[in-house]
């Protein structure tokens, strides 16, 4: 290119000249030096192409699902068990289509999803301040921190009998079980998130004058967000699990028909395709919410922080 560009050569000699003379560098050369250093040292990141994403992220799970269905169909076709006990994926699909044409699927999934969402939101409202108090107040933390972790290990289905005795066969029972399942996860997630905050951020916050509630709002909560989101994700998994346990046991004509009750109906009718259809639906809805809501949210937060 234009190697003899007058401005370019002029500037280069200018820098060399001052360096040799050992005097102070003129201001404009200083700025040039700094800009050059910035350009050299700024980390560069290239976005992977859509094709690479499809090959590395989408293809493996699709292959896995297809394989599972294939093996399932083969095992069913081999008649190891009678077909009423082990129907193949095609029979389950037909059971699903049957329900679909009856027009019940939307209502069943909607009922469960509505309960799950409301229960989860209640858990967030209760679990967040609880987690904050446990994370920040040492006495509370030593007092109930271990209990909170222990509650996570307790299968929430164990609460169902107790909840039925307290609240009868009602929606209150279902929500109580969801809360007992999800609140500890969400609170623990926030505690872990607060624990993972690099001390330098807390110190910087204090130096900047972010203390008390302002410190929580401007430093503590945003800094703990990655751990909190992980807790929310796990909280949703626990809420969904607890909901299914509750619905499976708490069946009553007064209560709306959710996925758990649908599953229980299948058992009563000894309709294995219906049972498997319900199981697959429970799995699809639970994983679907995680993939559609929590995974993109977590990814956005992490990439914006360069993690």
């Amino acid at each position: 290119m234009a190697a003899a560009d007058p401005t370019e050569t002029g500037e280069t000699t200018g820098v060399t000249g001052t360096a040799v003379a050992g005097t102070a560098t003129p201001d404009h050369d200083d700025a040039g030096l700094e800009a050059g250093l910035d350009a050299l040292e700024t980390p560069r990141r290239e976005r992977p192409s859509l094709l690479t994403v499809a090959r590395t992220k989408v293809l493996p799970p699709v292959v896995a699902v297809v394989l599972v269905l294939l093996v399932w169909q083969l095992v069913a076709a081999a008649h190891i068990k009678p077909s009423y006990a082990l129907p193949g994926p095609i029979a389950v699909w037909h059971a699903f289509l049957h329900q679909w044409y009856l027009g019940t699927v939307g209502g069943i999934v909607g009922t469960s999803l509505g309960r799950g969402a409301l229960g989860f939101l209640l858990s967030v409202v209760l679990g967040t301040p609880l987690g904050l108090v446990v994370a920040r107040v040492r006495f509370v933390r030593t007092a109930i921190g271990p209990i909170l972790s222990g509650l996570q290990a307790l299968p929430s289905v164990a609460w169902v009998p107790a909840a039925i005795i307290w609240f009868g066969l009602s929606n209150a029972t279902i929500y109580a079980v969801i809360l007992l399942g999800a609140v500890p996860s969400i609170a623990n997630g926030l505690v872990a998130g607060v624990e993972q905050i690099p001390p330098i951020h807390l110190r910087a916050g204090r130096v900047l004058g972010a203390t008390g509630l302002r410190g929580i709002r401007h430093v503590l909560l945003p800094a703990a967000l990655p751990g909190y989101l992980a807790g929310l994700k796990q909280g949703w998994a626990f809420a969904w699990r607890s909901l299914m346990a509750a619905e499976l046991i708490t069946t009553s004509p007064d209560l709306g028909l959710g996925l758990g009750q649908f599953l229980d109906q299948g058992r009563e009718l000894s309709d294995m395709p219906m049972v498997l259809c319900a199981i697959v639906l429970i799995l699809v809805v639970g994983v679907g919410i995680e993939l559609l809501v929590f995974t993109p949210l977590t990814r956005r937060v992490l990439t914006s922080r360069g993690l």
């Binding site: 700094e34 040292e41 910087a204 004058g209 937060v301 360069g306």
Partner: protein, 287 residues
């Protein structure tokens, strides 16, 4: 070393009693843990004049960071007093300590917000400060998109925002409600801020800090274990002993700014100070 004059702490102040110093430490001692354990810093008397650039120099265990924390008001001295005059001091660390969930501009705006600067003025001041550290284009960049040197410059801009150095144009407003401090330039406490940077970048940041201080009134207390850095930057270099931290000796650096770290004047004084520093360190081996 004709440029350097040794001072004692007692005679350090330039002006009389009429003007308050920016920082005055009197008989400062700090002990961690039970009373009776060996103090970290012991009996430090130090006065920093408004607008002065003082480098605190010492080996490990001299309590440099503790000293800065006490001046910043983050820790309380065990005995003695630490007073600062002027706006709330700003503190800058070896790590940039920028918040990764905010852009460069928002990091600075948060510092302004926490100081009570009203919202309409924040973005403008943040942009002005980023221009000052020559990162005008980086306002919307996230911390991880910046190099180590750029992060430290944003941190410097944030510290300036926090110290009130950006209010020079409209200090009459008294943005942080301490308008009466007009006579006192903002106080910047720097805790080895360039120690984690490579030599080239550090050198450039020395020039930058010198340039900014020439452009705006600023009192700086700069902690370092790098003798040449101290001589390159400081108007006064205070050598601290280790375990406990005490003031061993002071030098006034009369070389004109901007200095170059490679220059003969900086090298000569650095040699003298290094000899003294090594002598202090040797003393610990003999115990």
């Amino acid at each position: 070393m004709s440029q350097a004059t040794t001072l004692t702490a007692a005679t350090a102040g330039a002006a009389g009693d009429a003007a308050d110093p920016a920082v005055r430490l009197t008989g400062l001692t700090k002990t961690f843990g039970r009373p009776g354990t060996a103090p970290v810093i012991d009996g430090i008397d130090l006065t920093v004049d408004p607008g002065e650039f003082v480098c605190l120099l010492g080996a490990s265990g001299c309590g440099k960071s503790t000293l800065l924390n006490i001046i910043a008001g983050l820790e309380r001295p065990t005995t003695g007093t630490a007073e600062t005059h002027g706006p709330r001091p700003a503190l800058m660390f070896q790590e940039h300590a920028l918040f990764p969930w905010l852009t460069a501009g928002r990091n600075i705006e948060l510092a302004l917000r926490l100081r009570g600067v009203p919202k309409p003025r924040r973005a403008g001041i943040a942009a002005e400060l980023l221009d000052l550290v020559r990162l005008g284009g980086a306002q919307r960049k996230r911390v991880h998109e910046l190099s180590g040197g750029m992060r430290q410059r944003v941190a410097l801009a944030r510290a300036l925002a926090q110290s009130g150095a950006a209010d020079s144009a409209d200090s009459a407003d008294g943005a942080d409600g301490s308008g009466a401090t007009g006579a006192h330039p903002p106080l910047l406490l720097m805790d080895e801020p360039f120690a984690a940077l490579d030599a080239i970048t550090r050198d450039v940041l020395h020039d930058e800090l010198t340039r900014i201080r020439a452009a705006r009134p600023l009192t700086v207390v700069f902690v370092t274990h790098n003798v040449r850095e101290a001589v390159r930057l400081g108007e006064r270099v205070v050598l601290l002993t280790s375990r406990p931290g005490r003031i061993a000796r002071e030098w006034r650096v009369d070389l004109p700014q901007p200095r170059r770290i490679e220059s003969a004047g900086v090298a000569d004084l650095s040699l003298e100070i290094t000899d003294q520093l090594r002598e202090e360190i040797r003393r610990h081996g003999r115990r």
